[in-house]
C-alpha cells in the first residue's frame, strides 16, 4: 500500500459544486408543495404564559394553521428528550417543543404559523397574541447561587444545574509547601457560533408508507433521528434524517432544538411538507451560545517558576435549559492540567441556570476558557518571578519521554486521563524561533517612539477523537467506482476528501473513483456526530479499516479467478494484476462477480459483495497540542489592537491533508481572535439580547486578521491505525489566551493585568486610563516591566 494521497495536499472533492452554486443547503432543497413556518417566540426572559390568542393570525389569507402545544397533545407539551443524559445534572430541565406554561429565555418557541409563504407566516406570527405574566429573572450568573436569587425556573429549589469537581494530588500539601502562591480572578466569554448558514429544518412524509423524512442543518443527524423517534414514540426505522450541505456548524448545530421536533409534528398533523429556515435574528435569540464563566484560582509554583498546582472554582452560566448535558462545563474542567505536569489540581465548577439561551459547546467547547485561565496563571508566575514566560512553560511541560502521561485527572467514563504522544518543548522552541530573536530590540525602539508592541505565547492540549465510534462502509460497485458511506456528517471540514484519500491509498484506486455519502440515516445505520474534533480519528480510522478489508477480499477472490498466489498479486489503479504476466481482473469485475448471479454459487468461504463495514472504536482520546505566538501593537490612545504577527505550532499527529489542516487551524485561530477582541453577546439586566445583528455583535473580518504562520509537528497517535488526532478546534483553544497575553505585554509600562476576554478598545482604554490615574506607571519602571514579561529573553534562574 503506497501513500499516494495520504499526507498530500489534495484539492477538495467537495469544491466543484460549491464554487459553481450547485450546493444543496437546507433552504436550497426543492420540496414539492412545501409550506413555510415562522415561530412565535417569547419576548421575555422569564414569564408564565396565561393565554395564547391565535384567532387573528389563523384568519389571514395564506395561513394554513397556527399551532400551539395544545394542538399536538402530549407530544407538544412534554419535555424534549436529552441528547446526553448524565446523572450529574441535578435538574435535567429541557425545552418543550412549544412552551405552554413557562418560558425561561427570550426566543423560546411558543407557537408556529404554517403558511403558503414565509412572508405570510411571519406576518401572521406577528399578530399572535401571547398573554405573559412576568416572573423575576436571573440574568447575572455570578449571583445565581445566592439564596435569594430569582429562580430561572419557577418552583425550582435553586439554580444549580450541577457541581463538578476535578481533583488529584496532595493539594493542600503542595500549596502549603510551595514557595510561591498567587491568586487571580478571571471572567471569560465566548459568544455564538455564527455559522454563515443559520439552522433550518424541513419535514416531509414519504408518499407511501408514511416514513417521516427530516432534513436538518445539523452536525448529528443520527442523534436527531434518535431523539425525534423517542419524542414522537416512533420506531427509528420510520424516521430518516438527512443533513444536506451544511454551511458551518461549530458546535451549536449539534444540539437538538425545539424546531427539530415541531416541524416534523406539524408535517404529520397537516400531512403536508413543511420547512423552517432560521433567520439571523432568530440565530442570535435561539441558537445555543457559549457565554460566561467566572473563575477564582490560585497557582502554586517553585522558585524556578515550575508550576506545581492549581486550585479554585468556576461559576459557569448554563442558560435556561440543559439540552446537551454538561459538555461545555465538563470540557473546561477536563482541560486541566493542560500541557503541564502538575502535582496537584483541585477545581470545582458550579454550573448554574440563568434566564438566557442555553450554553452548549462552541468551537473548542470549554477548553479555550480553561486554556485562558491556565495560560494567564503561567504568565502571572513569570511576571511575579521576573521570568521569561517561555521558561515557565519549559520547566512545567510534560516532557517527551513521559508519554503516555497520566495526568491524574479522570475522563468522562471515569478512566484515567492519559496523553498519548507529543513533543511540547520542540513545538514551543520552533514557534519561538520563528517568532524571531529581535523582538525585544524592536519593542524597545518602538517604545522610545511611544508605540506599544507586545508579544504573547499560549500553549494547549486538546482531547480529540472522542469515544465511542463512527463507522464506515466501503463498497466497490460493478462500475469499478467505490462508494464510502458513513454516519459522520460534514459542515465544511472536507471529510469527503480525506476519506477518499485514505480509501484510495488503502484499496489501490485513484481518488476520482470514489464517492462519499454521509450524514444520512438512510444510508448508514449509526452515527454520533461531527463534534469534539473526532471525525478524522473515528470515521477516518473506520474508512481505513474497511478499505483494507475490501482490498484483502479483492486479492483473495482475484487469486481464485486468476489462479495465482495472493503474494503474486498487485492491486493498483483499480486493477489486480499477476506480477510478471498479463493476467488481470478489475475491481469492477470482482464486484460484479461478488454481487452474485442466479444459479452461480459464491466462492467457498467468501461472503457476497465487494464491501466491508468497520466501526473503529475510540476507547481513549488522542491528545493534540501546540503553542501559539502573537505579536500585537496597541494604540494606547484608542485602545485599538493590531495583530501584527501570528505563529502556530500545531501537532495533530499524522496529517492526512496538510492543506485542509491548515484551513482548520486558520479558521480556528480567527474564531479565537473574535473571542479575544470582538465577540460579546450582551443581554440587558432583564435578559433582553442587545447584540442581535452584525453591527452590534462583531465578527472578525479580513482587514483585522493577520496571516497565520503554521509549523506542523506530527507526533503520531499510537491509539488508531492511521496515527491521527483531531484538528478542528486546536486553532481556537489558545488564541484568546495568546492575544490577551500579547496585549498585556504591550501595555506592561502601565502595569495592567488582563484577566478577561474579549477586550474591546473601550475596555482596554478604560483599564489603561485607570492604571495611569492611579500613578502606577513610573517611567523608570517601564523598561523593567517590559523585560519582566517578555518572551525570548533567556535568563538563568
Amino acid at each position: 500500500m503506497g501513500a499516494r494521497y495520504f499526507g498530500a495536499e489534495v484539492r477538495r472533492v467537495e469544491d466543484p459544486k460549491l464554487i459553481t452554486g450547485q450546493g444543496h443547503y437546507l433552504d436550497d432543497l426543492q420540496i414539492p408543495g412545501v409550506l413555510h413556518a415562522a415561530f412565535v417566540r417569547s419576548s421575555h426572559a422569564h414569564a408564565r404564559i396565561r393565554a395564547i390568542d391565535t384567532s387573528g393570525a389563523s384568519k389571514m389569507a395564506g395561513v394554513i394553521a397556527v399551532l400551539t402545544a395544545a394542538d399536538f397533545g402530549e407530544q407538544g407539551g412534554k419535555m424534549m428528550p436529552h441528547m446526553v443524559p448524565v446523572a450529574a445534572v441535578k435538574q435535567p430541565l429541557n425545552y418543550q417543543p412549544l412552551a405552554d406554561r413557562e418560558v425561561c429565555h427570550v426566543g423560546v418557541p411558543i407557537a408556529v404559523v404554517i403558511a403558503e409563504s414565509r412572508s405570510i407566516a411571519e406576518d401572521a406570527a406577528a399578530i399572535v397574541d401571547v398573554d405573559f405574566e412576568l416572573l423575576p429573572a436571573i440574568i447575572d450568573w455570578r449571583k445565581a447561587l445566592d439564596p435569594d436569587a430569582p429562580r430561572a425556573h419557577s418552583g425550582a429549589p435553586d439554580n444549580l444545574v450541577a457541581g463538578l469537581h476535578g481533583r488529584f494530588g496532595a493539594v493542600e500539601d503542595v500549596f502549603a509547601k510551595a514557595p510561591h502562591v498567587f491568586a487571580e480572578t478571571f471572567e471569560t466569554h465566548r459568544g455564538g457560533c455564527h455559522s454563515m448558514e443559520c439552522r433550518g429544518v424541513a419535514a416531509a412524509l414519504a408518499p407511501f408508507g408514511g416514513e417521516l423524512n427530516v432534513w436538518s442543518s445539523t452536525q448529528a443527524p443520527h442523534m436527531v433521528r434518535r431523539l425525534i423517534a423517542e419524542h414522537l414514540g416512533r420506531d427509528e426505522q420510520t424516521v430518516r434524517v438527512i443533513a444536506p450541505d451544511v454551511g458551518g456548524g461549530f458546535g451549536p448545530k449539534c444540539s437538538l432544538y425545539p424546531e427539530e421536533i415541531v416541524i416534523p409534528l406539524a408535517a404529520i398533523k397537516l400531512q403536508r411538507s413543511v420547512k423552517w429556515v432560521e433567520d439571523r435574528t432568530e440565530h442570535f435569540l435561539s441558537t445555543t451560545q457559549q457565554r460566561d464563566q467566572a473563575w477564582e484560582l490560585e497557582v502554586a509554583a517553585d522558585n524556578s517558576g515550575r508550576l506545581l498546582g492549581v486550585r479554585g472554582r468556576c461559576v459557569h452560566d448554563n442558560g435556561a435549559y440543559v439540552p446537551y448535558g454538561l459538555v461545555a462545563a465538563v470540557t473546561s474542567l477536563s482541560a486541566f492540567p493542560g500541557p503541564y505536569a502538575l502535582e496537584a489540581v483541585d477545581v470545582k465548577v458550579d454550573v448554574v441556570f440563568t434566564n438566557l439561551v442555553p450554553n452548549t459547546p462552541v468551537r473548542g467547547a470549554g477548553r479555550p476558557t480553561a486554556c485562558f485561565v491556565l495560560e494567564r496563571l503561567a504568565d502571572r508566575v513569570a511576571r511575579e518571578l521576573s521570568l521569561d514566560p517561555a521558561d515557565v512553560r519549559r520547566r512545567s511541560f510534560v516532557r517527551k519521554e513521559q508519554f503516555p502521561y497520566s495526568t491524574g485527572m479522570k475522563a468522562r467514563d471515569g478512566s484515567p486521563v492519559s496523553y498519548d504522544s507529543g513533543d511540547y518543548h520542540a513545538c514551543l522552541e520552533a514557534v519561538l524561533e520563528r517568532g524571531g530573536s529581535d523582538f525585544l530590540e524592536r519593542q524597545k525602539i518602538a517604545l522610545d517612539r511611544r508605540r506599544y508592541l507586545g508579544r504573547g505565547i499560549a500553549s494547549y492540549i486538546e482531547d480529540t477523537g472522542l469515544a465511542p465510534f463512527e463507522g464506515a462502509t466501503v463498497r466497490v460497485q460493478p462500475s469499478g467506482k467505490i462508494v464510502i458511506q458513513t454516519g459522520a456528517a460534514s459542515q465544511g471540514q472536507g471529510h469527503a476528501t480525506i476519506f477518499s484519500q485514505i480509501c484510495a491509498d488503502a484499496v489501490g484506486v485513484t481518488i476520482e473513483d470514489i464517492v462519499v455519502e454521509a450524514g444520512d440515516t438512510g444510508t448508514f445505520p449509526l452515527g454520533i456526530g461531527a463534534i469534539a474534533s473526532r471525525t478524522a480519528v473515528t470515521a477516518g480510522s473506520s474508512v481505513h479499516q474497511a478499505s483494507v478489508a475490501v482490498r484483502d477480499k479483492a486479492i483473495k477472490v482475484a487469486s481464485e479467478i486468476l489462479e495465482a498466489a495472493e503474494a503474486d498479486l498487485v492491486l493498483e489503479d483499480g486493477v489486480v494484476r499477476v506480477a510478471g504476466s498479463d493476467a488481470q481482473v478489475t475491481l469492477g469485475q470482482l464486484a460484479f462477480r461478488l454481487n452474485g448471479m442466479s444459479g452461480i454459487p459464491m466462492f467457498s468461504g467468501i461472503k457476497p459483495g465487494l464491501e466491508a463495514t468497520a466501526f473503529y472504536e475510540a476507547r481513549k482520546s488522542t491528545f493534540a497540542s501546540g503553542t501559539h505566538l502573537a505579536e500585537v501593537e496597541v494604540d494606547v490612545e484608542t485602545g485599538r489592537v493590531e495583530i501584527r504577527r501570528y505563529v502556530v505550532g500545531h501537532d495533530c499527529g499524522r496529517l492526512i491533508n496538510p492543506m485542509l489542516v491548515d484551513g482548520q487551524v486558520r479558521g480556528g485561530v480567527v474564531h479565537g481572535i473574535g473571542n479575544a477582541l470582538f465577540e460579546r453577546m450582551i443581554h440587558d439586566e432583564n435578559g433582553q439580547p442587545v447584540t442581535t445583528n452584525y453591527a452590534d455583535y462583531l465578527l472578525p473580518t479580513a482587514p483585522e486578521v493577520p496571516r497565520i504562520e503554521i509549523i506542523h509537528f506530527e507526533s503520531a497517535s499510537p491509539l488508531n491505525p492511521i496515527g491521527v488526532k483531531g484538528a478542528g478546534e486546536g486553532g481556537t483553544i489558545p488564541a484568546a489566551a495568546c492575544i490577551i497575553s500579547a496585549i498585556e505585554n504591550a501595555i506592561a509600562p502601565f502595569n495592567v493585568r488582563l484577566t478577561e476576554h474579549p477586550i474591546s478598545p473601550a475596555r482596554l482604554r478604560q483599564l489603561i486610563k485607570a492604571a495611569t490615574i492611579s500613578g502606577e506607571t513610573a517611567p523608570i519602571a517601564r523598561e523593567e516591566a517590559i523585560m519582566a514579561c517578555s518572551i525570548g529573553v533567556k535568563r538563568t534562574v
Binding site: I19, H194, M196, G247, V670, Y694
Partner: protein, 164 residues
C-alpha cells in the same frame, strides 16, 4: 406595474437569460433569485446587509441582494455565481483559484466572496493584499480565516493580468 393588483412586474437579465415575473413589492432581490428563479447559489446569511453572502453583480457592480427589492432590478443585468463559469463549464479564474487555494470550507460565504472578488478584480486587477482585504471586508467567512481567500484573489489577479 404588473397587471395583477399589488404586484410589480420585473424584467431582468440574469446570467444572460431574460426573466419576467410579477412579484410582491416587498420581495428582496436575494429571495427573488433564490425562490422565483431557483438560482439558489446566492446565499442569505443575515438579511441586514453585513455578511455579504448574498452579493451578486448588478450592472457590473457588486451589490447585496438582500438590501434591494426585486422591483428595483427591473431592466437590470445581473450575474450570480451560477453564471460565472463559461457555458462549456470552464471555471472563472477566481473560481479556479478558490479551489486551488482551499479558499472555501463550508462554502456558504463562497458565492458572495466570488462575486465580490470578480467585480473588484475587473476594476482593479493589480490589487495587492491590503486592497483585497479591504474589498472583502464586507464579506464574513466563519470558516477559513480569510487568508486563503486573499491568496486566491491574488492568484486570480495574476491570471487576469495574463501573468500566470
Amino acid at each position: 406595474m404588473s397587471d395583477r393588483p399589488g404586484l410589480e412586474h420585473v424584467q431582468v437579465t440574469v446570467n444572460g437569460k431574460l426573466f419576467e415575473r410579477d412579484v410582491e413589492p416587498r420581495l428582496h432581490l436575494g429571495d427573488f433569485l433564490r425562490h422565483e428563479l431557483k438560482l439558489t447559489g446566492t446565499h442569505i446569511g443575515c438579511e441586514h446587509g453585513v455578511c455579504g453572502a448574498c452579493t451578486v453583480i448588478f450592472n457590473d457592480a457588486p451589490v447585496r441582494s438582500c438590501l434591494m427589492f426585486a422591483g428595483q432590478a427591473n431592466g437590470a443585468r445581473i450575474t450570480t455565481v451560477e453564471g460565472l463559469a463559461r457555458a462549456d463549464g470552464q471555471l472563472h479564474p477566481v473560481q479556479e483559484a478558490f479551489r486551488n487555494r482551499h479558499a472555501l470550507q463550508c462554502g456558504f460565504c463562497t458565492p458572495g466572496m466570488l462575486m465580490t472578488i470578480v467585480a473588484f478584480l475587473s476594476e482593479s486587477p493589480t490589487a495587492d493584499e491590503v486592497d483585497i482585504r479591504d474589498a472583502i471586508s464586507g464579506n464574513i467567512c466563519r470558516c477559513t480565516g480569510y487568508e486563503t481567500i486573499v491568496d486566491a484573489a491574488l492568484d486570480a489577479g495574476r491570471v487576469l493580468r495574463g501573468e500566470a
